[in-house]
Symmetry: C2
Subunit: 220 residues, 2 copies
């Protein structure tokens, strides 16, 4: 039996969607972020030494890192669904998006989130200066990077229904978290195809079931 | 014929190591970072719309994202070397490290680099305050994350010669860049197994050839 160790408002929500789509039986262990720091609770360390979510456990193993978990679930439990056969030319596209989601898209999204929280925490008097410094870093490095990634993603979705083929695959699962946070935070106005793609997933019955089971989730 | 579009002092250096190990013929197109901003030059955009390095081109395709490129090269040009067969249990370990390198390890490493450059750019008078703000963000978020990742990596290398088996694989290629920057910047004193692993790779004739061909590289 699979167990998903699931943190509220986190990267693990997309895995519930995948498991519901594949109609796989699984147990859900829920963890709650620290109300003050927003960090994952220490008891996740008992499940995997990295202490992060998601973690997927079976009788034998404890697996971390979203991209690797998606590949594992699709290979072992998909019966061909949500997978792309290695011999098809779109397999490389599948791998690209699977890596791109966390390798290129998430780091600047996380930086934006971390910076905006930091600006709120700074004493009011120093806030203009903190804003100047952090916006400077954002504009010089993270933002151009993020905009480039989003434009590239948007242009792919303008010409394709899904990330790697005519049906959703593991690549769509992996891309969901960064893109649904973008839409939920009202930052997707320049990206109508991304918006439509997120809505299309949110409308699926499997996604609705995942949402109900996962509990608190601010991005849907 | 493969062409690697290679940026000095960048993530693409590890791909040269892989190609030299596999004894694959390839062309090298070199790009130079902007001396002032450190950013990639705009002509990389002609090769791939993301405008980043590495990019690998063949007669038919233009591939980006290191992890996806490593998987492509190993599958198409490895003849079994640097690969892990899907049916072996260590395949999941292979996938984990392949995703972990850019998904978990690089984001806090990049943040450290970006923050330390930003501190130097701030006018001298404001520097103590900038330091306080940026160190605060680092300590609250990126650093605990990075230390956890490095401890986990160190403990794996204390018990294994390579990341996914008894010989180097694509996982080692992907893990090389974050770990060799760590060692080169003198930040690996607490991680002797990581240091030894990097040295072991740097001593390989294929790595030496890659270094000679790649040109300017500050991390070896």
């Amino acid at each position: 039996m699979l167990t998903i160790h699931h943190l509220n408002n986190s990267r693990s929500q997309r895995l519930l969607w995948l498991l519901e789509e594949l109609d796989v039986e699984y147990k859900l262990e829920k963890y709650q972020r620290d109300a003050k720091t927003g960090l994952a609770p220490v008891d996740l360390k008992a499940v995997h030494p990295l202490g992060r979510s998601p973690v997927l456990t079976t009788e034998n193993v404890s697996l971390a890192e979203s991209g690797a978990i998606v590949e594992y679930v699709v290979r072992h439990y998909g019966n061909g669904a949500f997978a792309v056969p290695e011999e098809e030319s779109r397999y490389q596209q599948y791998l690209f998006w699977l890596h791109f989601a966390e390798g290129s898209l998430m780091p600047p999204r996380v930086a934006m989130l971390v910076f905006s929280k930091a600006k709120q925490k700074v004493p009011a008097l120093l806030r203009p200066l903190a804003k100047k410094i952090l916006d400077g870093i954002m504009d010089a490095y993270y933002k151009p990077n993020l905009i480039q990634s989003l434009k590239f993603t948007e242009s792919h979705l303008q010409n394709h229904a899904w990330f790697a083929g005519t049906e959703p695959t593991g690549a769509d699962v992996q891309m969901l978290f960064p893109l649904e946070t973008l839409v939920a935070m009202g930052q997707a106005d320049d990206y109508p195809a991304i918006k439509a793609w997120v809505k299309k997933i949110h409308d699926r019955p499997a996604y609705q079931r995942a949402l109900e089971k996962g509990g608190e989730y601010d991005y849907a």
